[in-house]
């Protein structure tokens, strides 16, 4: 009964989305010229009243759609919680003996459930816009909700016609199949939803952009309405990427923190686009510049999320058989992709020429700096996109190849360094017009710090390599420059979003220092040792004490005991394992990591040779933890900024209204 109710709620939500789209489209069409703030000629007849009535229906319908979708998702969680094995999805992905938290997480840890989560977040976001967004002009708001409904409708259709999560199993299964302990990891349970919140947040920005293209009303009011959504999406994407990177680092046992894997790139590309959007939307909100570019970025950001989802879900890149199993799904996502992105870009080509030119600015100005930031981010985005897609294009031409980390590292690192340097200077430039010489004066201290740091690194570690030395030096300079906006300011009167920006930029510097340090100073030892032998790695001496067996739920392991000492410090014990899983039969390495204040010692147990010696892989990675600590700071900065912006919007409704009238 519960599954049927969930399916019914899903159908009703889809119907509501259709209604929302029709109401919005008809209302806007009939109300052309009649609505107080809709564009077009003046026209007064009976149509005005009908249009107003139609449009008045859009908000409530959006709210009902959100509630119905949420109900459907809650009911899906419910069937997982009670382990209703007559539901196919539960039988395939859950097990009655699973811990409760993984039963709940199991609801979205599969294709159908994750798509339902996707569309639920989308519908709730639509409902939230309908409830919260009071000040955007009515026509643009209605067009936005219409676009949101159009996106949701596609995904409802996808769920209902090819990925129904509520399909019954007859006869019901006796027990579920999903007791894979490898997937019972808190990181895996909450990592996908985090990224989904980010993706869907970008879909709201996309809908705003489409709405603005429909009404041709692109201005500061629109930018302010869009900004919190972009910020929130960006915070979630940042958390998702940071957590994903750390998960890969400790779980895969290769000691690397970023692999340029298509799945990783699929999350990085929307983040790059969202970062660019975040900055350009500020120019639009504050100075009414970069109108067309901001719209374009909003479209690109969501397109990147959809392309990423498509690449990962379709299996087109990894060429595993994900697709052979059910080709309709891949085709469905591709069709949605073409419909939405193609449609939005078509609309862009048709309408953006009709949007009035925004205000212009001098080259040396805050706006100029943000344009530079956007250009560099776009270049990196382009490189990552080309590198990710090149194998597909090459395959279409008949060659098989893959693009690896060397390509990405060599091409993106120099541009990223330039980007970070621009980031350091950006907040110190004045809006509209600035004096290049005065700017250089403000940058004296950061530049001096960067130069000193580079010199120091070069003296103490001349073999570190050009990029790491540049990166380490720059990171010190950027750290100084990023807190400079707070210099000589009354901190109690400094707005929260300024603190947010400072924190996020500081986070970039911290993360960058971690990356540079990791690539410059990592010490790696691969040794074959007998019990009792001592190995040196970096400042540590590692004694291999011996081995013992260990057993888990469905694995057995050989566990090494390592005693680690640094100088005269207290010894630490690390226990890396080599695990054997019975079903399916696999061997995995469980790295043991000692986290110290100044870095991590990363140990992996390998195979044994004929002589009774065991392979040990040891890495000393100074300051590597800064990479993820910086990521956390970046997300925190975004969150502070979001709270600061929302609070200010609440406090200054009057000022905003005035802006809007002045802009119109």
């Amino acid at each position: 009964m519960i599954a049927e109710a969930g399916l019914a709620a899903l159908w009703l939500a889809a119907a509501m989305a259709l209604m929302q789209l029709v109401l919005a489209a008809l209302g806007l069409r009939m109300g052309r010229g009649v609505l107080p703030d809709a564009p077009g000629s003046d026209r007064a007849d009976g149509a005005g009243e009908t249009a107003a009535q139609l449009i008045a229906g859009v908000r409530p319908v959006a709210i009902v759609q959100g509630v119905l979708a949420a109900l459907s998702f809650v009911l899906l969680i419910w069937v997982f919680v009670v382990s209703d094995m007559s539901v196919q999805l539960v039988a395939a992905n859950s097990h009655s003996a699973k811990p409760m938290v993984y039963k709940i997480a199991g609801a979205w840890g599969n294709h159908e459930g994750s798509m339902l989560l996707w569309v639920t977040v989308l519908a709730l976001a639509g409902g939230a816009i309908a409830v919260l967004e009071k000040r955007l002009n009515v026509a643009t708001l209605v067009a936005t909700l219409g676009a949101q409904a159009a996106i949701a409708l596609g995904f409802y259709a996808f769920l209902l016609f090819s990925s129904n999560p509520f399909t019954r199993l007859d006869p019901p299964a006796a027990e579920g199949q999903g007791l894979n302990p490898l997937l019972q990891d808190p990181g895996l349970a909450f990592h996908p939803p985090t990224l989904y919140f980010g993706y869907v947040g970008l879909s709201v920005a996309f809908s705003f952009a489409v709405g603005a293209l429909v009404t041709r009303d692109v201005g500061p009011a629109f930018a302010r309405a869009m900004r919190p959504w972009v910020l929130a999406a960006w915070v979630f994407l940042t958390i998702g990427i940071t957590a994903g990177s750390y998960w890969a680092y400790y779980e895969l046992g290769w000691g690397g923190w970023w692999f340029w894997d298509p799945v990783e790139n699929a999350s990085l590309m929307p983040w790059l686009a969202a970062t660019a959007l975040l900055h350009s939307v500020t120019v639009l909100a504050t100075r009414d510049g970069l109108r067309a570019w901001t719209i374009m970025l909003a479209v690109v950001a969501f397109s990147m999320s959809m392309i990423g989802t498509f690449l990962v879900r379709s299996g087109i890149l990894t060429s595993v058989h994900a697709f052979a199993v059910d080709p309709t799904r891949g085709s469905f996502i591709l069709a949605l992709l073409i419909l939405y992105i193609g449609g939005a870009l078509l609309l862009f080509g048709l309408r953006i020429g009709l949007v009035k030119q925004g205000s212009t600015f001098e080259l040396v100005s805050r706006e100029g700096g943000l344009v530079l930031n956007n250009l560099l981010l776009s270049v990196i985005l382009g490189i990552v996109l080309i590198g990710t897609l090149y194998p597909i294009v090459a395959q279409a031409m008949g060659t098989q190849l893959s693009v690896g980390p060397p390509f990405f590292n060599k091409t993106t690192a120099p541009i990223a360094l330039a980007l970070f340097a621009a980031m350091a200077a950006g907040p110190l430039v004045r809006w509209r017009r600035d004096n290049a010489q005065a700017l250089l004066g403000r940058l004296t201290v950061p530049i001096a710090v960067a130069a000193l740091a580079m010199a120091a690194v070069f003296v103490f570690a001349p073999d570190a390599g050009v990029l790491p030395i540049l990166g380490l030096g720059l990171s010190f300079g950027i750290a100084v420059a990023s807190v400079a906006p707070l210099w000589k300011r009354d901190l109690r009167r400094t707005p929260l979003f300024t603190f947010g920006m400072v924190t996020a930029h500081l986070g970039i510097a911290v993360s960058m220092a971690g990356m540079a340090s990791e690539s410059a100073f990592t010490v790696e030892r691969l040794v074959a040792v007998r019990p009792g032998q001592i190995t040196q790695v970096g400042p540590f001496s590692v004694r291999f004490d011996g081995l013992r067996p260990a057993v888990g739920a469905n694995w057995s392991a050989i566990e090494a005991r390592l005693t680690v000492t640094r100088g005269d410090g207290a010894p630490l014990v690390l226990r890396p394992q080599s695990r054997f899983f019975s079903a399916p039969s696999t061997v995995t390495s469980e790295a043991a990591i000692a986290t110290l204040f100044d870095g991590q010692l990363y140990t992996v147990l390998g195979a044994s040779d004929e002589g009774g010696r065991w392979q040990l892989r040891l890495w000393w990675k100074p300051w590597v933890t800064l990479i993820w600590f910086g990521g956390g700071l970046i997300a925190l900065g975004g969150a502070l900024s979001l709270v600061g912006r929302v609070r200010r919007e609440r406090r200054q409704p009057a000022a905003r209204e005035a802006w809007q009238t002045a802009a119109a």
Partner: protein, 175 residues
């Protein structure tokens, strides 16, 4: 801004979508094809594996008549499946040479005794060096070599009943 620039994103996306559609509906073929098809054999000379039987070298091929070059191993199960069809090809008058991959003489002798011996020559390739040089990525694989020593066709996987006429046709075309 120039007007046509506004259409650039759409054009780029349409191109990308076309590639994706192509990739999506392309049959999911994961076999690795040799790049040498249509090109001369690489230079190689393999010593004999079994005493008293000749090894295989590139010079054995450019003799004016097409031959088959079969990549096999005694430890390879699909090779057993294709053995009867190789014997049929031999009976049809096709000369077949072999490269034995990572194998030993006693094992191969045993294999040939059990499943029949269609080979004129057997070369010993203990490190897969010649196999890789030919652009072959697994066993069994079979190459049709024309009279000038060029690779006319590559057959990946075991030869089954339906493949025999195809291979005979390829040999005829390579004449």
């Amino acid at each position: 801004m120039r007007r046509w620039l506004l259409w650039l994103p759409l054009v780029a996306f349409v191109a990308l979508a076309a590639v994706a559609v192509h990739g999506l509906y392309r049959p999911n073929d994961l076999t690795v094809r040799s790049r040498l098809v249509g090109k001369p054999l690489p230079d190689f000379a393999l010593p004999p594996l079994i005493e008293g039987r000749p090894g295989v070298s590139q010079a054995d091929f450019a003799t004016g008549a097409p031959r088959l070059l079969n990549i096999f191993a005694s430890w390879c199960v699909p090779c057993i499946a294709e053995a009867p069809h190789l014997l049929r090809l031999k009976a049809a008058g096709v000369p077949i040479d072999a490269v034995a991959i990572r194998d030993t003489a006693p094992a191969v002798r045993d294999f040939l005794a059990r499943h029949g011996d269609p080979y004129a020559r057997i070369g010993d390739d203990p490190r897969s060096a010649v196999q890789f040089a030919l652009g072959s990525s697994g066993v069994p694989e079979t190459f049709v070599i024309d009279g000038q020593g060029r690779i006319a066709m590559q057959h990946v996987g075991p030869i089954n009943e339906a493949d025999v006429p195809r291979i005979l046709q390829a040999l005829e075309d390579a004449r």
